[in-house]
Amino acid sequence: MLGLFTVVLEVLAGVVAVTVLAIVGVRVFRKVRQRRRAALAAGPRQALLAFVADNGEHGAQELVAIPDDAWRAAEPGALALLGKLRGEAHLALVSVFLQRGIARTALGDLHSRSRVKRARAAQVLGDLELRQAVPELCRLLTDRHDEVRVVAVRALGRIGDPAAAWRIIASLDRSDPVPSLLATHTLVQLGAEAEVTLSAALDHPQARVRAVCLDALGLLGATGSVHRMARVLREDSYLDVRVAAATNLGKLGTRGALEPLQQALSPSRPAALRAAAARALGELGAPSAVPILADLLGDDEFQVAHEAAHALRRLGPAGAGALADAIESERTQAGAHARPSASASHAQEALALSRVGAEHGERVGAGA
């Protein structure tokens, strides 16, 4: 037993010493590597900044001629710069990347066995906004690793080719789909040209797909799809989808959304849907919704009454007037010292926030 202890102690002492040496070794190695990389990247970084400052008109050949090891050290900075640039400077820098063969390498890496390499390659192609890469990136939407699919979706959004819309929508219809919010954002990035595809996908059998398309249509302000969205609000079998329809109809800001939203406020509808419809009416900005929202202040459901009050607040003077009337009428009926009812409390809260906002606006206006 003692012999075993002694051996264990010796081994332990050795491992402890090796660990301490390893800590020191890692630090030395990192410092040396950092210094070397900083030295290598210094020249290319200056050249890059001068190139960008010159709007990409001069210096492209110098950047292309930078030796590979120095470019590798400067590449993360160059890619970060790419994301911040627009217009001519962006196109010029992309051209430098293309001439250096970065896109070709990335396209090749999309077939790599390593998922990290595939994801990195997709990220680079998205940063370069390379339209030729769209078919390959669409193929990546069925990659067996979710992290690769996620990067591919983001890259497609950055490229913004509406031809990818169906493939992105299809990537939502699987057992482990890409995150809905990411897909929505990407579909919005594809622009108004994707509206027809998104509108058609409102008939998709998968509820998640319909909800994502509704969100994308709302953010795109797709007024041409108002009737289809209203139909989803009326008829869809999933409550979450109907709530998404109500929310996004409000974002469209078009008169055609008013009637379906008012219908969704019917007491027979679920509370979550009614609350969403009340909020959407506030977003819509239609003063004609004021009477119906004022009626909802006394609703038994907290969320419905709360949203109605804040929707009235967003409707400007007409809504504020209705809120003030609700408070005043209760004061008249119950007396000034009576405890306010739930409807009056909601109205007071919204009115107070409305006044705070107005006061601040006036101050800013006066300051300007």
């Binding site: 037993m1 003692l2 202890f5 002694t6 264990v8 102690l9 332990l12 002492a13 491992v15 402890v16 660990t19 301490v20 390893a22 800590i23 020191v24 890692v26 630090r27 990192r30 993360p76 994301g83 990290v116 994801a119 990195r120 997709a122 990220q123 992290e147 996620v150 990067v151 983001r154 995150p179 809905s180 919010l181 990411l182 929505t184 954002h185 919005v188 969100d215 953010l219 907290f302 709360h306 739930a342 409390s345 909601h346 007071q348 809260e349 107070a352 926030l353 705070v356 906002g357 006061e359 601040h360």
Partner: protein
């Protein structure tokens, strides 16, 4: 005959304790290795993680940051100013003044031009105190809300904050925490990446003592000046950063620090908010969340992100440290007692079969075993059950293995995040890992045993008062912060 039996019992007990120490440190080592793998995975993916896309997306889930505050006057304005300047597309800060006796509220009112608004508190989660008034910042009523209420404790203050939170994600932050600018973005990101499954996400808490804090941001990370706090730095690295990352990778995370964690609001409301009958309300919430979601057979994840971080001030005196550790251990004991039905219950999967039994054997009982070893080993030596050669080897192997575990944590930190850039800090870290074994661990065990016994006897929990030294702000004299989270 009797003496021989006693000697045999002591001999076997000493060997059992030795095996226990080996198992305990081996389990730590496994968690540290898992954390190392996770950090490697995280760092390889950083270039395409999409944090900037998340920041730019109009669809990023908005967050309500809930800040319970009790007598935080000296530091509250700087803390709230920093929290309202985080890099995140849409969020609100809800400060809940839990009946402070100092000028916490007055300072906030003066700085942010607060204006009182009538607000209906929904009561979706129960709270026992009385809300006195609700205020918003005149310049930005949607971003900052300050609630005044009668004193009811931290859990009760959080429940009021949860009721008033308007966004689908809630982030609980201590009022003296200093968050890295991207901290909220990182901790909320898993909810965007996997919105259907992620139920909660914890962020790492590091020690801010000794660091330079400018404008509510940690700008220069340094080791603290006192050895007591340096030892805690190593301890935080080993237990919080590595331990929790390891558990997250195993799918068995049961503790998210109340100092920095994000939860889905709907789920927190479903389970009734924070429990007010336990002193470890943060960990209790996570265990209850597991209980709820496992019973519902829902596919979900509770995860931990290792960077960026929240920085907190650690106790720099034995008295305050003792109170903190008694409270922490009492919290563990209370939670395990409250949820004993989950322990070793296959219905709760890895939580029931691995995580909670581990907490019983290697967290709750560890200080008892440590103290037992301190008593029984000399006793065994005295009655002749073990000889001196055995005892010194036993002690060296047990503590040597503990040292190796701490060094492994320092190694992983050096490979991955290397937040302490100075050579001197590295040396101090290694020395602290050694010094931890001489007195610190033993006194810690005493405090922890007292905390666990306090839970057993149902004695009233004490929050106490912590005198804070404040952070190094780069000026000649930092404003001393008298009272903080350690209430």
């Amino acid at each position: 005959m009797t003496a021989e039996v006693i000697r045999d019992i002591l001999r076997y007990t000493d060997v059992t304790i030795f095996v226990y120490f080996i198992a305990l440190n081996s389990s730590y080592l496994v968690l540290i290795v898992l954390a190392g793998l996770e950090f490697g995975r995280h760092l390889r993916r950083a270039p395409f993680a999409g944090a900037d896309d998340m920041f730019r997306s109009p669809l990023t889930l908005p967050v309500s940051v809930i800040v319970p505050a009790y007598n935080e006057g000296p530091g509250i304005v700087a803390a709230v100013t920093a929290m309202t300047a985080l890099r995140y597309p849409r969020y609100e800060v809800v400060v809940v003044d839990d009946g402070s006796g100092d000028d916490t509220f007055e300072r906030l009112r003066a700085e942010f031009d607060l204006v009182e608004v009538p607000r209906v508190v929904p009561g979706e989660v129960p709270y026992h105190s009385r809300v006195l008034s609700v205020h918003v910042a005149r310049a930005n009523p949607e971003t900052l809300t300050v609630v005044r209420k009668t004193n009811g404790g931290k859990a009760d203050a959080l429940n009021v904050g949860i009721n008033l939170a308007r966004h689908p994600l809630i982030c609980m932050v201590d009022a003296d925490s200093v968050l890295d600018p991207d901290a909220l973005l990182s901790v909320a990101k898993p909810f965007g990446d996997d919105p259907l499954r992620v139920a909660a996400c914890g962020g790492v808490v590091r020690i801010a003592n000794g660091c330079k804090v400018v404008g509510g941001r940690v700008v220069d990370v340094r080791m603290p000046r006192q050895w007591l706090v340096r030892i805690q730095v190593v301890e935080y690295l080993r237990a919080f950063l590595m331990g929790r990352t390891g558990w997250s990778r195993l799918g068995g995370l049961v503790v998210i620090s109340g100092a920095f964690g994000v939860f889905r609001r709907d789920l927190v409301v479903e389970i009734g908010g924070m429990a007010t009958d336990t002193i470890g309300e943060d960990a209790e919430l996570v265990v209850r969340l597991h209980h709820h979601l496992r019973r519902r057979r829902q596919d979900y994840r509770v995860i931990f992100v290792a960077e960026p971080v929240s920085w907190s001030e650690a106790p720099s005196s034995l008295r305050v440290l003792g109170r903190q550790r008694r409270r922490w251990h009492r919290g563990i004991a209370e939670i395990l007692r409250k949820h004993r039905g989950m322990i070793a219950n296959p219905r709760y999967g890895r939580i029931g079969l691995i995580a909670l039994p581990y907490y019983v054997v290697f967290e709750l009982l560890a200080p008892f075993v440590e103290l037992a070893a301190l008593v029984l080993l000399p006793l065994g030596l005295w009655v002749g059950a073990v000889d001196l050669a055995f005892v010194w080897r036993f002690v060296l192997v047990a503590y040597g293995y503990g040292l190796l575990v701490s060094l492994a944590a320092l190694f992983i930190e050096e490979v991955s995040f290397h937040r302490y850039p100075r050579w001197g800090d590295l040396v101090r870290g290694v020395l602290a890992a050694i010094l931890e074994n001489f007195g610190y661990r033993q006194i810690l065990a005493v405090w922890q045993v007292r905390g666990a016994l306090g839970a057993l006897h149902g004695r009233r929990a004490e929050w106490g008062v912590m005198h804070r030294t404040g952070f190094d702000t780069g000026r000649e004299s930092a404003e001393p912060v008298s009272v903080g989270v350690d209430r």
